[in-house]
Amino acid sequence: MTQPTPSLDQVLPPILARHGNDPTRLVQILRDAQDQLEYLAPDTVTALARALNIPRTRVESCVEFYAFLHDQPRGRFRILFSDNITDRMLGNQALFEHMLKRFHLAPGQVSEDGLVSVGLTSCTGMCDQGPALLINNMPITRLTPRRVDEICDLVQSGLPLADWPSHYFKVEDNIRRAEVLLGSGFRSGDALRAALARGPEAMLAELKRSNLRGRGGAGFTTGVKWELCRKARADIRYIVCNADEGEPGTFKDRVLLQSFAERVFEGMALAGFTVGARQGLLYLRAEYQYMMPHLLAVLERMRAAGLLGRAILGQVDFDFDIDIHLGAGAYVCGEETALIESLEGKAGRPRIRPPFPVTSGYLGKPTVVNNVETLCKATEIALHGGAWYEAQGTKQSTGTKILSVAGDCERPGLYEFPFGVHVSEVLAECGARNAIAVQVSGASGMCLSPEEFGRRIAFEDVPTAGAFMIFGPGRDMFEMALNFADFFAHESCGFCAPCRIGTGLVQKMMHKIAAGQGTRYEVNEMLRLRELMRTTAHCGLGQTAGNAVFDTLQKFRPAYDRRLQDTDFIPAIDLEAALARARAMAGRDDADAHLGAQA
């Protein structure tokens, strides 16, 4: 029961009209077009370029850039297994292979009847309920062999995804420890009312007093960021909420959006009020597309309640509304300037800074980019004041922090702790016994060994964007580093050479070592490359891409040593085999047509 593919003339005009024929909405247009056409064929690209009056190459570069935009048919059911190390620890590889076998497919291949393809993707943010997959961007978690078989049956039956039993798509919150943010009841509108009563200047003063620092990773002081934006000379300003949450092992923003969306949006409106912006944009990662209907409904509710839209809460000169943009599968789009490029309908390549977004961001206007959690924290400050806020946490890291705990523990999920909590306390709370390592803050973060479990989660000691992945006895930390090497090589945007080439080389060397062909040479090379990327890459992705290899080499060296050969060097390739094709083509078999194994 294949539906006929709709024609371009039917599909494109309504999509283009919905987006006002605006080329800065290209990514959204492409996503919508693909939803209906299944993939973006050359004709579609040409038609869109013409309709938007932009060069075809611009459309093409977008399609090529994003992992979730396809220029080839990908099947009516597009299945992607999340391939974070936490999924691997839960056995995703066997499930992946099982599904491939059932469909008689190779990874990424489309079945001949155009029904289905099965591939791998970077962490989908379901680490506490993995192994997980996405099917046409809808998540299915807690995979078991039985569940995989059921999915295969449903796919083969051809039943449209919308008609599948809804229990498959259930995503849990798993809030295990709640403090001020996750625990206290929040009455929609109260934070905004408090801010309006204070006025923007006083709100800013409270924010600065609170010493709130950004939760997206870099830890920039939020008050300073807002003030810079407010003071930047411009007619229009924007508030952007960064919900790209691509860092492997991080899933707190998903829960905040799933169950605290009002708070997130109110935080954005609060920011709008404080800096003088009238438009907010939520950049939602493609993997979280399933939340779209819910988020749109929340926005509608808030408009109806007078918390968004014109003259908010009766304040005549305060208009603010929020638009949601979907990403398309690119980790680098979490980087704020890449995110802005993506919002503007382009490939998400990080900009050269300065200028910083606070002076020249979205469409060249002053823009505040904040993480989802940061904006929630701002509502706490509006409600209770900066002094109250500052009393929690540590001196340089005030307030509480939500940790996304996954891996080898009894109770994976969200844990809200005041900053300054010891790693060992978190381990005890989530039921992790005899952990041999904790990877804090995702693939780009820091790997801690048991001697360091006394260290504290805080900007002054172990900073984090939230991920907290636990490795129990018997885990092989080389496997983690290998997984992350694959991740970075896949996610590098290719803009700058140190990262584009460096991540590729590190990946190759890690696989060479994994295959038992590595020597000390590769180890030295990787350390050198790490330093090169750290100091010369254009953005944070490349600068941190070597961290996991570096840390595990420092702290889990035997995991490497037992894979290394004791010789000076082993070529990466079988040279004799590399000549085989040309040998056969030329019909030669003389001595010069062979290469001995050694020099």
Binding site: D568, A572, I573, L575, L579, A580, A582, R588, A599
Partner: protein
């Protein structure tokens, strides 16, 4: 640019000994060697410090024991493998010189194609004489892919750039000759 280079000594008793340097181009465009010539008048200074063994500059065909080997270009055929192996076994320090040697560079653009298809298209599918893939044993066979040199032998140092500038080469060589850790900083460290 002036760099002070102490005279190298091979040992406390022996007098100053010139370092031996060899250079070769595998599958490259000789652009890196042209850049070497961009040392201009510093070439004379270099000649004071080192003695050239096998190199397009000397036209010596095989290299003897050397201190430093500079390799331009990537590994594309069996002959490249032989030259590279000769360099590795004779040079104490082997330097990958330029983007092709470091990472495969321009020649590696054929890596998306099947080498058999390339040979067929060039020798068989075109109008004109021939129609056969040359099979003389004098001719080196093409490898299935183009490889950076460090996938075939151990490499000690890498000079990025396509080509690296004369200044970068000078800095690198004088560092090595003087026994310093060779290091390129911005703006000499570049990849294009």
């Amino acid at each position: 640019m002036t760099v002070s280079v102490p005279a190298p000594h091979s040992g406390p008793a022996a007098g100053p000994r010139k370092l031996k340097v060899a250079t070769a181009s595998l599958s490259g465009c000789f652009g890196c060697h042209m850049s070497l010539l961009d040392l201009d008048e510093r070439l004379l200074q270099l000649a004071e410090l080192v003695e050239f063994d096998r190199s397009p500059i000397t036209d010596i065909k095989h290299c003897g024991p050397c201190d430093v080997g500079l390799i331009e270009g990537s590994v594309c055929n069996s002959e490249n493998v032989h030259v590279l192996r000769e360099f590795r076994s004779h040079c104490k320090v082997l330097i990958a010189f330029g983007a092709c040697a470091v990472a495969g560079g321009l020649p590696a653009m054929r890596n998306g194609l099947d080498v058999g298809d390339c040979l067929k298209e060039i020798y068989c599918d075109r109008v004109g004489p021939g129609g056969l893939i040359p099979n003389d044993r004098e001719l080196p066979l093409l490898l299935d892919k183009v490889y950076p040199i460090n996938e075939v032998v151990r490499v000690d140092y890498f000079i990025p750039g396509c080509p690296p500038s004369g200044d970068a080469i000078w800095k690198y060589l004088t560092d090595v000759i003087a026994g310093r850790m060779p290091r390129l900083e911005h703006p000499m460290l570049r990849y294009d």
